[in-house]
């Protein structure tokens, strides 16, 4: 017994050491980015462009970002797309995954390959553009939310999770007179919080990072999303152009923090569901 306890401890120590190393590897770049964003550019240059702990702190870079035209508007737009888009994603994914998780669903064997196919082979940029255009979605925020409402991979994870729920629960509910919507809403969804929260995270991050769709489908400058506006500030033209001053390293890093911060902030709240959801879904996936 004592021996086993010792070896347990050795494993623990080993784990802690390895995890600490991984932690440092993960945190270091983040720390670097945050430090540079908070340091006056002169101080950054004095350190040869590299520093981990800032010796002087300034919020100038963040102030510059906030003062940028278009940015507050782009923030609001992206938040809107993220929230509404994620709601659409979740509703669509859940109501699609639920029937597919039922073995007795007629035509299920035909439907599943039909759903998986576009995950492997997409229509291509131009056909997709034509589709969105013919749906009259160009220049509307719907173009950023509707076409990607169900992401096949996420659908399969949710479907696998639903398949793992014990059938007896549904039977007893049905005996009590519950219809499918009631079962879905009152039994499946509350039991599936882990997988749903995971999907919220996946979809929300995707919406927050919307870049190319925004360029493609929203020609109006007043409607562009955060990433587009930030990218424009970050990488102006490379050709010789006297009018452009490339932003300083400090400003570039501040933009990185600015875009990732909201995701970093919400992550811890969703994380507890996150690991659980993926694991449970994956068992049968």
């Amino acid at each position: 017994m004592v021996k086993k306890w010792k070896s347990d401890k050795a494993v623990d120590i080993c784990n802690y050491v390895i995890l600490s190393v991984i932690l440092v590897i993960c945190v270091f770049p983040l720390l670097y980015v945050i430090s540079v964003s908070l340091t006056p550019i002169t101080e950054v240059h004095k350190n040869g462009g590299f520093l981990v702990i800032p010796r002087a702190i300034t919020l100038d870079a963040y102030k510059t970002i906030i003062d940028q035209r278009m940015l507050p508007r782009a923030m609001g737009i992206t938040a809107y797309i993220t929230i509404l888009g994620t709601v659409i994603n979740i509703v669509a994914t859940v109501i699609m995954a639920y029937p597919l998780s039922k073995r007795k669903l007629a035509g299920r064997r035909f439907l599943i390959p039909f759903i998986i196919f576009p995950m492997l082979f997409s229509g291509g940029t131009i056909p997709t553009y034509l589709l969105i255009k013919n749906l009259n979605m160009i220049g509307t925020y719907w173009a950023l939310m509707i076409p990607g409402a169900v992401y096949t991979y996420n659908l399969l994870v949710v479907k696998a999770f639903f398949e793992n729920l014990p059938e007896e629960l549904f039977e007893s509910a049905r005996i009590d007179g519950a219809n499918e919507f009631y079962v879905l809403w009152k039994i499946v969804v509350p039991l599936s919080k882990p997988v749903i929260m995971t999907m919220v995270l996946f979809y929300a991050v995707g919406h927050w990072e919307t870049y190319f769709d925004s360029i493609m489908y929203l020609p109006d400058q007043n409607m562009q999303t955060l990433q587009v506006v930030l990218r424009r500030m970050l990488t102006p033209n490379t050709e010789m152009n006297a009018d452009i001053t490339i932003p300083t390293m400090t400003l570039q890093m501040a933009m990185v923090v600015f875009t990732t911060l909201p995701i970093i902030v919400i992550y811890p709240f969703i994380q507890k569901y996150f690991t659980k959801g993926i694991m449970l879904g994956a068992v049968k996936g």
Partner: protein, 523 residues
């Protein structure tokens, strides 16, 4: 049953069928109609602007992929100014940048949404657009565009804009070169060296700035020679009559030749290699971006840099360059003498003006109102009033006229950094730069007066089947190999032979000579 219904509903969304559920479609439409500035759908119908003002405002959509942030539409004083002056509602849309721009624009054009005016992502793409009849040839409208033509420099300046006999690019004024070499004068003083005037002196200076610890920190952490890109070596090669590019130039007899064929090209490459072999060249020189070079200069890691005045002498940049070492003194110097008898010079200027960036959609010609609006717009931005608007902003706010000269206000620095996107026919660079960057005035004048090579390639239209982009890529790869010693310079003649056999370089040169003779550039 209910499950089946909901499944069917969602399937349509997921798999992207045309049958979007009614409710979604309706709400999409509602949102669309409430968003004021809407896209047009490629049809030439009167739209958005109409309801707002005097009844017959024509809207034009301009699309480009420049990295610039425009003000919100309602605060865009340029678009407002244009509308007030000529009654055309212009909307500039920035659609990504670089490769993203090309993809997005091609998708739009394939979908029939051709913007009224736009920038073609590359020469090759523009050729395709021309072949597919997407772009309007301005040949038939030259008399109506006379103010623009006169402004850019007359008929001669139109030449670079022709493709297959049609003028498919909006002509623009010639763009000068801003490039110049600079050196840390304070470091030269420390290591006991003078500003170099010859190649040999430059090599010696670069060695001292690398190995004699000019920053006095006890560590060997400086590089004598840096730049941002392979073109930095043109500081050396141009003075040998050569270049890292295929520039078409006239030799002393007035005969057309390429810089790649310069008699002293190999000697020039040898000199570049001597710099590399001496260990004085920044190893990142080819990969450095403009801001990477700026940061290295600010961090006191570079002694001589091949750059441009706009990357050094603008006030905001100078503050950064002096941040670490307030005594840093960056001075420019003249092109170096190679001792071969070739004229000391650096970088090229175009003999025949610059290629235009913008082109006009062919669909514009189908609508007389749009066509008129485009002509009005192009003539307006080159008129005295319009040029001021797109160059300096609003009088009284962004600039004042004092004794006939334009003097910028502080607001010009903060509110006018996007104006250049509207300079579709460019600008009078000399005056413009002096107004915008008075702090850099001396360096601008020096850059303007620097000895340059005069290049003619802009007047040449590549013959059928000649792929300039492929050949240029091959040239670049080999120049790097020669300079950094991965391919012996003794194989240079073999390299030229490869250009002939693989890319048809000789045929290109022949065609170029014929074309330039026709145009009267050579006799």
């Amino acid at each position: 049953m209910a499950a089946m219904v909901s499944l069917a509903l969602v399937l349509t969304a997921g798999c992207g069928s045309n049958d979007v559920p009614g409710s979604t479609q309706d709400s999409a439409k509602t949102t669309e109609s409430t968003d004021a500035n809407e896209q047009d759908d490629g049809e030439t119908k009167p739209e958005a602007g109409q309801e707002t003002a005097d009844g017959d405002v024509v809207s034009l959509e301009l699309v480009c992929g420049h990295g610039v942030t425009l003000p919100e539409k309602e605060k865009n004083f340029v678009e407002q100014g244009i509308r007030e002056a000529i009654g055309v509602d212009v909307t500039m849309n920035i659609v990504g940048a670089g490769a993203d721009y090309a993809t997005a624009l091609n998708a739009r054009i394939s979908g029939g949404d051709v913007p009224d005016l736009f920038i073609a992502p590359s020469d090759e793409t523009l050729k395709q657009y021309v072949q597919n009849g997407i772009v309007l040839s301005l040949n038939d409208y030259l008399d109506q565009l006379q103010p623009l033509v006169d402004w850019v420099g007359g008929e001669e300046a139109l030449r670079p804009n022709y493709i297959n006999g049609g003028m498919y690019r909006v002509p623009r004024k010639a763009k000068g070169s801003y490039s110049m070499p600079v050196v840390r004068k304070d470091w030269l003083d420390k290591v006991g060296a003078e500003i170099p005037t010859t190649m040999e002196e430059a090599l010696e200076v670069a060695k001292k700035l690398t190995f004699e610890d000019p920053d006095g920190n006890g560590a060997q952490d400086t590089y004598g020679f840096s730049g941002n890109g392979l073109w930095a070596f043109n500081l050396i090669l141009n003075s040998y009559g050569g270049s890292v590019y295929n520039n078409l130039v006239l030799d002393e007899n007035g005969e057309l030749t390429s810089t790649l064929l310069a008699p002293n090209m190999e000697a020039g490459l040898e000199m570049c290699k001597r710099f590399v072999d001496a260990g004085v060249v920044d190893p990142d020189i080819v990969a450095n971006s403009g801001d990477a070079l700026r940061d290295k200069m600010a961090q006191c890691k570079v002694g001589m840099a091949v750059t441009e005045w706009a990357s050094v002498y603008k006030q905001a940049l100078m503050e950064q360059l002096l941040a670490v070492d307030p005594d840093a003194e960056w001075v420019w110097y003249a092109p170096l003498d190679s001792g071969t008898g070739d004229r000391a010079c650096f970088d090229t200027i175009n003999a025949v003006g610059s290629k235009g960036e913008w082109c006009v959609s062919a669909a514009v010609a189908e609508s007389p109102e749009k066509l008129e609006a485009v002509i009005k717009l192009l003539n307006y931005i080159t008129s005295e009033e319009g040029e001021k608007l797109v160059s300096y902003g609003v009088e009284g706010r962004h600039y004042n006229v004092e004794n006939g000269e334009i003097v910028k206000t502080d607001l010009m620095s903060t509110e006018c950094d996007f104006l250049w996107v509207y300079q579709m026919a460019y600008r009078d660079d000399g005056v413009y730069l002096a107004v915008k960057f008075p702090e850099a005035a001396e360096s601008i004048v020096f850059s303007e007066n620097t000895e340059r090579m005069t290049a003619y390639e802009n007047a040449v239209i590549a013959p059928e089947g000649f792929h300039a982009e492929d050949m240029n890529k091959y040239i670049t790869e080999n120049m790097i190999a020669f300079i950094f010693g991965t391919r012996p310079i003794s194989e240079y003649s073999q390299f030229l032979e490869e250009l002939n056999t693989s890319f048809g370089f000789e045929d290109y040169m022949k065609s170029a000579e014929e074309q330039l003779r026709e145009q009267g550039y050579i006799e």
